[in-house]
């Protein structure tokens, strides 16, 4: 039995049917479907190897596991359904999450719009209140929570106390976690909260390589981001490019375990090996050649619109990469950040988002990048933030104009309400009472855009194998249901009627 058990709830411990994007379904409440079915769509139970050890586990948990193992600590990731087997022996229980309490985007907007708790929040609470976790706590197990959503515990002190969480770790944990866990194993007093600052962030050679497979073959190619957008926490981290040999070794950990998918993780995949914000052709091509040598299917986590435009204009790099990718698959999925169409707002909160192009030409950069992706079968899930500090009516009108220009390009645009993170973490959360008519119009436009293109994507690209037909049917039903629901209430909102709308 391991001394240290690492786990998370079902919404995270899943391969999401091999489609990372489906994991986002768990950020909403069950809509038009029973909760169990909703959870199955987003987060089916992963393959279990025995004794509750999942074949694939979230990459962040794998990094923590690797760090502990490297330091001689007996640690294992266990599926949440099997914690009972470990309840008597576990000395330290570590829980990680992207969104413990659904305060992060996009969970908080589905919660705000529907007025109902998202599934990820419900699922995490179920884990912490489960019999095995309660039994562990009764037996004196120390509980350490962490991950990108660690900050959310600061707004839930009652649950923090009730669930007996001893320490919350906020930040890159690989370097600090072994000593913290050793303290816990020795029964020494633990800090209640630990924020990892610049002196304790791991250097490149201190980042351990995963030793077991990650969900959907996700591997990190970079850490940090040079763009410095004020609403983003990643940008506060020092920028590190992971050497290609290290990336390859992690891909091979996945491939040898039978995970033939690869997901290159970076805040901006095209900046791999770049100097500053201008993509370079050679490192990006080499990275893709290496990855495609090993995997049968490839995806990107994030790319920036400016890098997409620059890479194509300068090197025809997007076409070259997609020519390689299309030897294996029909399309490539990625998340990109549009964030705002407001030029003045962009100057204040994300002045380098459009670099190397001037921020004044942000609309042109966005549209050009959308066009390049559309023509090259890259399907982006695009984030757009409303309620940013200092946002004006003019910013929202410019956002609406930009959304109109983007209508013709295949993409899913996901609106998000401002959550105070990064350099803006001392600002106020966006709340329902802050919603204006223009916010509603932005939301409605993104809804119309995304529903139109979701149908197209499902028809031409997504879930095409026979085995995936039931899932595809459920998603088609969901789209149908949402359209009916939105149609019924949009008639009651003057801003969305033909007379009231700005278009």
């Amino acid at each position: 039995m391991p001394e240290v058990v690492i786990t998370t709830d079902r919404t995270m411990m899943s391969d999401h049917h091999g489609k990372e994007f489906l994991g986002f379904v768990a950020t909403g409440p069950a809509i038009g479907l029973p909760e169990g079915l909703w959870l199955w769509i987003s987060s089916p139970k992963p393959k279990i190897l025995g004794d509750g050890v999942p074949l694939e586990a979230p990459y962040g948990l794998r990094k923590v596991e690797a760090s502990l193992i490297k330091n001689g600590i007996d640690a294992k990731i266990i599926d949440p359904d099997y914690l009972g087997k470990y309840a008597e022996e576990t000395k330290v229980l570590m829980v990680g999450h992207h969104d413990f309490f659904a305060y992060g985007p996009p969970s908080n907007e589905w919660w705000l719009i529907t007025g109902r708790e998202p599934i990820n929040r419900i699922s995490f609470a179920k884990l912490m209140e489960s019999e095995p976790v309660r039994r562990m706590k009764k037996n004196g197990t120390k509980i350490i929570a962490g991950g990108p959503a660690a900050w959310q515990w600061l707004y839930e002190p009652d649950k923090w106390k009730r669930w007996g969480v001893d320490t919350v770790v906020d930040g890159e944990a690989e370097k600090v976690i072994p000593s913290l866990v050793r303290k816990a194993l020795k029964g020494e007093e633990l800090p209640s909260y630990l924020y990892v600052g610049v002196k304790d962030v791991p250097l490149l050679d201190e980042i351990p390589e995963i030793v077991k497979p990650s969900v959907n073959g996700l591997v990190e190619i970079m850490r940090g981001c040079p763009r410095g957008c004020m609403f983003c926490s990643v940008t506060l981290r020092p920028l590190r490019h992971i050497p290609i040999e290290k990336v390859e070794r992690e891909i091979l950990v996945n491939v040898r375990a039978g995970i033939k998918r690869g997901l290159l993780h970076s805040e901006d995949v095209l900046l791999y090996g770049a100097d500053g914000v201008k993509p370079k052709e050679e490192p990006v091509i080499k990275l893709h050649e290496m990855a495609l040598k090993h995997v049968e299917e490839l995806a990107w986590s994030h790319a920036s619109l400016a890098a997409i435009r620059y890479a194509q204009e300068k090197y025809k790099l997007i076409s070259k990469i997609m020519e390689m990718v299309k030897t294996k698959q029909d399309f490539l999925g990625v998340e990109v950040g549009l964030e705002t169409g407001g030029i003045e707002l962009a100057k204040k909160i994300m002045p380098a988002k459009s670099a190397p192009y001037p921020v004044e030409s942000w609309h042109e950069t966005v549209e050009e990048a959308f066009k390049i992706m559309h023509e090259n079968d890259i399907i982006p899930a695009v984030t757009l933030i409303i309620g940013l500090p200092e946002e004006t009516e003019k910013d929202l009108l410019q956002t609406i104009e930009l959304l109109d220009r983007l209508k013709q390009y295949r993409s899913l645009i996901v609106p998000m309400m401002f959550v105070p993170m990064g350099a803006l973490k001392n600002k106020e959360f966006y709340r329902r009472e802050m919603m204006t008519d223009l916010h509603i119009e932005v939301l409605y436009k993104t809804y119309q855009h995304s529903i139109f293109w979701a149908k197209d994507i499902l028809k031409k690209y997504y879930l095409k194998s026979l085995l995936q037909f039931p899932l595809r049917g459920l998603l088609e039903f969901f789209i149908w249901y949402v359209e009916r629901k939105v149609d019924s209430f949009s008639e009651e909102l003057p801003i969305l009627s033909k007379e009231g709308a700005t278009t």
């Binding site: 600061l154 106390k161 209640s192 909260y193 610049v198 002196k199 001392n426």
Partner: protein, 128 residues
Amino acid sequence: MSDSGKSISYRAALLLDKGKTIPQSLALRLLQEARRSGFRLELVTISEEDPPRQVTLLLPLITANHSVTISIQSKKANSKEDLERLLSNGNFDIIYAEKNFIENLGEILTKTAIKVIPYNGEVAEKDA
């Protein structure tokens, strides 16, 4: 702090009054001292509050920080003797005490012979 060896840090005790956060000025001062001491801040908070709530009373510090490693150890002091023991054995560089502590427990604080700086706490906003 890390496995990479012994590190220097600024170590302070914070005596928190129930339901009162620290002021922004104190948060900035702590961060300034920490940056001068290897970008590491070790805080021991002492209050009648439960440990998680003690951490939330430091939100002005946590939200103002982007670069300093902050470790917060929260302790409940149930009696004057508890408080005296915690302060005397804590190896602190300094003690920051909410003014109510100074008024009620000045004698204990004097006994510890550690520099004590008073501050005015601010009533915490309701939780999210």
